[in-house]
């Protein structure tokens, strides 16, 4: 048997208009823990989907050799049969079923076609012992914590005779103790001959647990480093992850920054269901008129949750803190309050939260501002038509007419509708959550120009983005968020990807806010 359990050669994966992976090389040694790092959107998840058969053999270019044989997985069933098991960041467990049932879901322990509960429970206990889980196998999965749920996933993987275990951000939702336990388990599995690939943003833990690290950037494999031999440090990794120049992707803009008019102080938000979980922890920030303020952070840092909870408490529970506009405290009990006060929130999830895909442009453009187009509750259809047509033109939505259904448009045009509908409410502060996600370069440029136009009118923009170059190119000031804390802010002159990445990956934010002006 060869030393490498996995070799991926020249993997190239295209989506319409986007080259997601370009000639990626990845070799994983048998019996090691291999880490995959890179910025959001670097292609890590796509690469793992290629490996696990989510994208069928033939949907991509390149070769995969697994366990000494060429692998041509048509679906996840094939890859699991070969011994590749992937555990996603969002766990695929059924909360209403027991631990034992979840472990054998889709792989039920049967005797002559009938489920044998004795065998199910006995096998479950054996697997649970292997991952250090001491609960009753009949316990419902929703009753145990996320850390233990993660262990159930691993037990489930072990039940399938896993040879290569892939974990996508396994510790993102875990506290320090649970994370440490999980990493110990990975080390223990390594002793037992299981090879693991771990995707993580937490560079500290990557360095602690991994034998080798492969860095991806813009869909290309940059380098593979030995943690022991190469003397790798966090700085070294960050450099490899972000190492590129800002191109001319951003329209020129002369900021005219006024005085601070929007302030959030000491904002704390809890999870809507798991009410003890603190998602945003004492966050404070402010925005000045004419200013574009960025909010950086890795996924799960609490940025969207922060924005939505400020926007009329549309997310979270047990919210505390103050919001001030022009020095006056706002009581925002619901979304209509927030709109009334002059806030707007353009969501990161256009399709589910931003638009009515089955409705035409007119309905979508005018929904939040319908009150302005009606008298005593009766809508003035002529005004609706006129306003929609004006917005369609102003925002350059490429649709044949305002009767076009939003669902039939491209992502970029959909995003322009979302912006249009919020601009029509004449907000003072616009919160733009991932405003260019899933949009091609040309449309991005147009969106940037629209944002500039807004701040030139004296409005404030708070922009959440996972693409650091975008934040650096657009923002006058950038806050970084990590694990619910604002971990620092940098202004335009001092902002670098390395500095932001450092603030975004601060694992304990107990040190309070760092300032660098």
């Amino acid at each position: 048997m060869s030393e490498d359990i996995l070799r991926m050669r020249g993997i190239t994966k295209r989506f319409p208009g986007v080259l997601a992976l370009s000639g990626v090389e990845l070799g994983v040694k048998r019996g090691t823990i291999h880490a995959l790092v890179g910025e959001n959107g670097a292609g890590k998840s796509t690469l793992m989907k290629v490996l696990s058969g989510v994208y069928a053999h033939g949907d991509f270019e390149g070769e995969i050799e697994f366990d000494g044989r060429p692998a041509e997985f048509r679906n996840i069933r094939d890859s699991e049969a070969a011994g590749v098991v992937i555990i996603h960041q969002e766990l695929a467990l059924v909360g209403e079923l027991s631990i034992a049932e979840n472990i054998f879901l889709g792989n039920e322990q049967k005797k002559r076609g009938v489920i044998s509960w004795d065998r199910t429970n006995a096998e479950a206990v054996r697997l649970m012992a292997q991952v250090g889980l001491q609960d009753n196998p009949a316990t419902l999965v929703e009753k145990i914590g996320v850390g233990k749920q993660q262990l159930v996933e691993i037990a489930k993987a072990l039940s399938k005779d896993v040879k290569l275990l892939i974990l996508d951000e396994p510790t993102a939702a875990l506290n320090d103790t649970d994370s440490e336990n999980l990493l110990d388990l990975l080390r223990q599995l390594r002793e037992e001959g299981v090879t693991s690939i771990i995707i993580s943003h937490k560079l500290g833990e990557v360095l602690a647990v991994a034998d080798q690290i492969t860095v991806l950037r813009d869909g290309k494999s940059i380098e593979t480093l030995d943690t022991v031999g190469d003397g790798v440090t966090q700085d070294r990794l960050i450099k490899a992850m972000v190492g590129r120049d800002l191109e001319h992707l951003f329209p020129p803009h002369e900021p005219k920054i006024g005085k601070v008019f929007f302030e959030v102080k000491d904002w704390t938000v809890h999870h809507p269901e798991q009410r003890h979980r603190v998602i945003v922890n004492g966050a404070s920030l402010n925005v000045a008129r004419g200013e574009i303020v960025g909010l950086a952070g890795i996924m799960g840092a609490g940025r969207t949750e922060f924005a939505m909870s400020v926007f009329g408490r549309s997310w979270g529970s047990n919210i505390s803190g103050t919001v001030e506009l022009d020095g006056k405290p706002l009581a925002l009990r619901n979304v209509p309050d927030a709109i009334e006060a002059g806030l707007a929130y353009a969501t990161e999830d256009r399709k589910h939260y931003g638009l009515h895909l089955d409705y035409d442009l007119r309905e979508n453009f005018t929904l939040p501002g319908l009150g302005k187009l009606s008298k005593r509750g009766v809508v003035d259809q002529d005004k609706v038509n006129l306003v929609s047509e004006r917005l369609r033109k102003d925002f350059g939505v490429k649709a044949p007419s305002v009767y076009q259904l939003a669902g039939n448009l491209s992502g970029g045009n959909q995003q322009k509708i979302v912006l249009g509908k919020w601009v029509f409410t004449e907000p003072e502060l616009l919160i733009l959550d991932e405003p260019t996600r899933g949009i091609d370069v040309g449309a991005k440029y147009e969106i940037y120009e629209l944002i500039h136009k807004l701040v030139d009118q004296g409005k404030g923009v708070l922009m959440i983005s996972s693409e650091l170059p975008e934040l650096l190119g657009m923002c006058d000031r950038i806050y970084a968020m990590s694990a619910g804390h604002i971990t620092g802010q940098v202004d335009r002159e001092h902002a670098t990807q390395e500095e932001l990445m450092r603030l975004m990956t601060l694992e304990t934010a107990s040190g309070g806010e760092e300032q660098r002006q």
Binding site: T46, I76, M299, A338, L357, E363, V378, V402, G438
Partner: protein, 432 residues
């Protein structure tokens, strides 16, 4: 002959093709069904089906279903369901009969009592559904039992007769002794003229805004056809006994609720909340409040339907309105409501109710047994929703929509947000 390749002029055929299938499919289906029965009746029984009397009967026999269907359409568009309307109808009908016969209230107060009681029941159910967020299916299933039981209780398992003006609400043809033939004809002609006027004005305004929707030919065909249908229908009723009183009531309800649905903020919020509740909520729609009022409206309309059923039977009976909720729901779906909410029109619900009513009537006239009629009506409901599903697939470009989002997580996911998923790998994604 090099000049052959002129710019093709839009033909009538193109115009017809451009007509929105969804909006007009059911009207066309209704007309085709009527023609089919006409042909069958002439061939098999040597009589006409499309007669003034038969049309009038279709209205009279289905009036209360149509009233329920109007409310049910709003409920379904808002993303809910109401299983209690049959029982609410019976309860309100019973109370109106009691008000009339036992309390000796004048007929209009008896009507008011029934409608008010229906609205109150709507308040009760709307509260649990909208604010406590118990699924409408459960709340109204409970309501179905509760209000049937209350009906039995207030009637004491007896039948209470009604008489006088009250009864003419459901089957009368004259007001204060004057018949309604001439007003029917005047209404038809005025209605057609007003329709044409609004169409022309609307089109002119669209042109001014620079957003003309359909082609000139399609618009012309539609306008002329609808105007003609209005005039012909008016004349047909005129030639018999005129539009019955309940016909006028229905007409008023259709116009009122079409206006509410299309032209009021409340109406648009009903649609927005049903089409995508999360997006509506984030756009500042008070979705709970909207849902609450939708159920109040549904309750009031059930109360009114209760009056009509009682008046039509000349009595309130414990078993009134059984299974009518299913007819109302079926009418909405035949009339183009989407199972997932957000789509449907008031006029569609009425057409859907008429499709069911006319088919029922047509088959009965042909001497087809009720058991067969039920089977056929069931298949019609299935076919209508099938058409809806097919139409939706067609308009979204088809393709397999994965049942489960392929794999969660990974920001690279976003890069292809605008591309349809291949749908090759849906079934294992959630169990991996």
């Amino acid at each position: 002959m090099s000049t052959v390749q002129n710019k093709p002029r839009p033909s009538l055929l193109d115009a017809l093709r451009n007509i929105n299938l969804r909006a007009y499919g059911m009207i066309i289906a209704l007309v085709l069904i009527m023609i089919l029965f006409q042909v069958l009746d002439v061939a098999l029984q040597n009589q006409n089906f499309i007669t003034a009397q038969n049309l009038t009967n279709a209205i009279l026999q289905n009036s209360y279903i149509l009233i329920l269907a109007i409310g049910m359409m709003l409920v379904i568009v808002n993303g809910h369901i109401d299983l209690s309307v049959g029982s609410v109808l019976a309860f309100c009908g019973a109370v109106s009969a009691i008000a009339l016969s036992h309390w000796d209230l004048p007929w209009y107060l008896a009507v008011l009592v029934a409608v008010g009681l229906g609205a109150l029941i709507g308040v009760w159910q709307g509260f649990w559904i909208a604010y406590v967020r118990i699924p409408a299916f459960i709340v109204t299933l409970a309501g179905m039992l509760i209000f049937r039981g209350l009906t039995l209780k207030v009637l004491d398992a007896e039948t209470i007769g009604t008489s006088g003006t009250f009864n003419s609400l459901a089957s009368g043809y004259d007001v204060l002794g004057a018949d309604l033939r001439l007003p029917t004809l005047v209404l038809g002609i005025l209605g057609a003229a007003l329709f044409v006027f609004f169409q022309v004005r609307g089109r002119a305004r669209q042109a001014k805004a620079g957003i003309v929707g359909s082609s000139q030919a399609a618009w012309l065909v539609k306008t002329v056809l609808v105007a003609a249908v209005i005039v012909v229908a008016a004349y047909t009723f005129y030639s018999y006994k005129g539009l019955p009183i309940i016909g006028w009531i229905l007409l008023a309800l259709v116009m009122l609720f079409t206006f509410i649905a299309n032209r009021t903020v409340f109406g648009r919020h009903i649609y927005a909340g049903g089409g995508n509740e999360k997006a509506a909520l984030l756009s500042g729609v008070k979705t709970k409040q909207t849902t609450f009022w939708v159920f109040v409206i549904m309750g009031a309309l059930s109360g009114l339907a209760g009056v009509i059923v009682t008046a039509r039977l000349h009595s309130a009976t414990p078993g009134a309105g059984e299974a009518l909720e299913l007819s109302a729901i079926a009418s909405s779906f035949i009339g183009g409501a989407s199972v997932t909410g957000g789509v449907g029109t008031i006029i569609g619900a009425v057409i859907g109710g008429l499709v069911m009513g006319i088919m029922n009537q047509g088959m009965t006239v042909l001497g087809i047994a009720t058991d067969t009629v039920q089977v056929v009506l069931g298949l019609v409901v299935l076919a209508a929703v099938l058409f809806d599903v097919w139409n939706k697939k067609r308009s979204t470009g088809g393709g397999n929509v994965p049942l489960v989002g392929i794999t969660p997580g990974g920001s690279g996911e976003a890069k292809r947000a605008a591309t349809p998923d291949s749908g090759k790998e849906p079934e294992k994604a959630s169990t991996s």
